[in-house]
Amino acid sequence: MEKFTRLTGVAAPLPMANVDTDMVIPKTYLKGTERTGLGKHLFAEMRFNQDGSEQPDFVLNRPAWRQAQILIAFENFGCGSSREHAPWALRDFGIRCVIAPSFADIFFNNCFKNGILPVVLPKAVCAQLIDDAQRGANATLTIDLETQELTRPDGERIAFEVEPSRRGRLLEGLDEIGATVAKADKIDSFEARLRRNQPWRATALAAPA
């Protein structure tokens, strides 16, 4: 997994609530079998016309935000489907941090697995940051996961909080699957207990052929 420590970058304002994963990456682009290459389809239906030309007003098409690394929106960001294509598309575009008053559970989780930091801040603060972000390239934000502080363009610091375990994993870029595979003994004994207590599940618990 990719690490996240500290980031200074341009923030794109997306002053909408309930930005769903269908908006982030429309299903037309879910047919791939790779994790990469989705950035060009990020927000496709808002970013492009049907003929493929750009919608000039969409924030990520405007010169100031084409290189944005941070996204700021309102409540319930990432609601909808469980598609991890949403964080893959964000990451592939170059977004490393999303700031919102609240996130949908699965999306929130998926971010951490892909080196993206979702930051929860009160709505009023998000509104302020959106105002900052409207100023484009002159208004970079710094997000420091070590100190859990965000620095506004005027230098003001805002504290945010990330659960310690998630923060640790992101700072380290931990291989979670490898770490769990190493606990095979514990899983074995759990399954042994299941076999005893729920004998009708013998088939499902059979070893691979």
Binding site: E84, D105, T180, L205
Partner: protein, 469 residues
């Protein structure tokens, strides 16, 4: 002994492989459903790390999102869809995972076939790389959607790193009125608590109106837990659950049945168990529901009018309502029954089971679809399709000018060829009305199967009760 526990507590406690100080746990996964869209990168990851699937027989794979619902003898025309399905087929062969192919009568929407085959059982943990895994909660199984990285984690270890959710109880007492269904119940709830109302929670649905539902109805309710923002839904298992399960291919065998049921009877929440939040709804007050906007919480009783953004006090909300109405091509204050439709879609993991098809057929019988409407019936599985045909439902639909299709997700998310054209308006029994969900520029109104059937024959949204009298 610990104090009184909820159904959620009991399932959670019995699946802990390891508890960590930071509040995360290693949670054992009993059943893992795999589909073509969210698994290729996970299998690729396994291959790269030279890992195996730990419990292939606790895993079941099916292609549902991408499959055509028209004649399948020629395979899948779209090269990308075909590649994704072929990739799944290669992966299940290589890793030894059971698979229902497109040619298998048991194929269908993953959340329909899991219960239908008896994979989903009370007290289990069930995961799938799809948010509507919440459906399986209807059996008193803790079932939730996961991302592809987690799919890989479960394939490799049969566990998941998880964190306990908060527990909400939604009690719906009383009886649903004539013409009101499980779909109306869950839409009304989402209208009440909002699409973020359940965030961070697992919702247990309780009360007499829930107990009175069939398994099909309970699945419809639990399915849309995710639209209420919840991580999962749960309904206490009871005789309705056990009767549904008995004799299904993966259900406990006859000699172990009584033992299994005895265990399942211990699962319901203990009297006095504490919930973090409680919500109550009066079943009798619920009327047939329709959505008017682009979020499932944008819902009103049929007969009500489309809201006016000017009435919204909150700025974000006012902008959202205005944006929704512009997208949906609706005027503030217009009657929902004046909304004319172009298409009707009866299907999806929310409403494609036999009972849903019967409900729709009961409205369609002896009528014809409106001339300008295209109507599509997409059963949730090959077995449901066959049963409906044995009951003659397909004839009722075909005679009325409806299309009768093969099983799959179809126009629920329009990844195959079934989709709305820009500006087209659809009465749909699915679960999401997001912008572009059923096709670029398409407009979705969510409702029950009977309501969608009524709209198809009327040509506009209508109160199904007017056609039932």
């Amino acid at each position: 002994m610990s104090g009184p526990r909820t159904l959620y507590d009991k399932i959670w406690d019995s699946h802990l492989v390891e508890e960590n100080e930071d509040g995360t746990v290693l949670l054992y996964v009993d059943c893992h459903l795999v589909l073509e869209v969210t698994s290729p990168q996970a299998f690729e990851g396994l291959r790269a790390a030279r890992r195996k699937v730990r419990r292939p027989l606790a895993t079941i794979a099916v292609a549902d999102h991408n499959v055509p619902t028209t004649d399948r003898s020629a395979g899948i025309a779209d090269p990308l869809s075909r590649h994704q399905v072929e990739t799944l087929e290669r992966n299940v062969r290589e890793f030894g995972v059971p698979y229902f192919s497109m040619a298998d009568i048991r194929q269908g929407i993953v959340h329909v076939i899991g219960p239908e085959q008896g994979y989903t059982q009370p007290g289990m943990t069930v995961v799938c790389g799809d948010s509507h895994t919440a459906t399986h909660g209807a059996f008193g199984a803790l079932a939730f959607g996961i991302g592809t990285s987690q799919v890989e984690h479960v394939l490799a270890t049969q566990t998941l790193i998880a964190r306990r959710s908060q527990n909400m109880r939604v009690t719906v007492d009383g009886a649903l009125s004539f013409g009101v269904t499980a779909k109306d119940l869950i839409l009304a709830l989402i209208g009440t608590i909002g699409t973020a109302g359940g965030t961070g929670h697992v919702i247990e649905y309780a009360g007499s109106a829930i107990r009175d539902l069939s398994m099909e109805g309970r699945m419809t309710v639990s399915n849309m837990s995710i639209e209420a923002g919840a991580r999962a839904g749960l309904i206490a298992p009871d005789d309705v659950t056990f009767d549904y399960l008995r004799g299904r291919p993966q259900a406990p065998p006859a000699e172990a049945w009584d033992q299994a049921v005895a265990g399942w009877r211990m699962l319901p929440s203990d009297p006095g168990a504490a919930f973090d939040h409680e919500v109550a709804l009066d079943a009798a007050a619920i009327a047939p529901q329709v959505t008017w906007g682009t979020s499932p919480q944008d819902v009103v009783a049929i007969g009500a009018t489309v809201p006016d953004p000017a009435d919204e006090a909150d700025d974000t909300r006012r902008a959202a309502v205005a944006r929704s109405l512009a997208y949906m091509g609706l005027q503030p204050g217009m009657k929902t029954t004046d909304i004319r439709i172009d298409k009707a879609f009866i299907g999806s993991c929310t409403n494609s089971r036999i009972e849903d098809l019967r409900a729709a057929a009961s409205i369609v019988r002896g009528r014809r679809k409106a001339a300008h409407v295209e109507a599509l019936i997409v059963p949730g599985s090959g077995l449901i399709k066959r049963q409906a045909e044995q009951e003659g439902l397909d004839r009722i639909f075909r005679d009325a000018g409806f299309e009768w299709r093969e099983a799959g997700c179809s126009m629920c998310l329009a990844m195959n060829d079934d989709r709305l054209k820009p500006g087209e308006r659809c009465a749909s029994t699915s679960n999401r009305n997001f912008e572009g969900r059923q096709g670029y520029g398409g407009r979705t109104h969510l409702m029950s199967p009977a309501m969608a059937a009524a709209a198809a024959v009327s040509g506009h949204l209508v109160d199904v009760r007017d056609l039932m009298r």
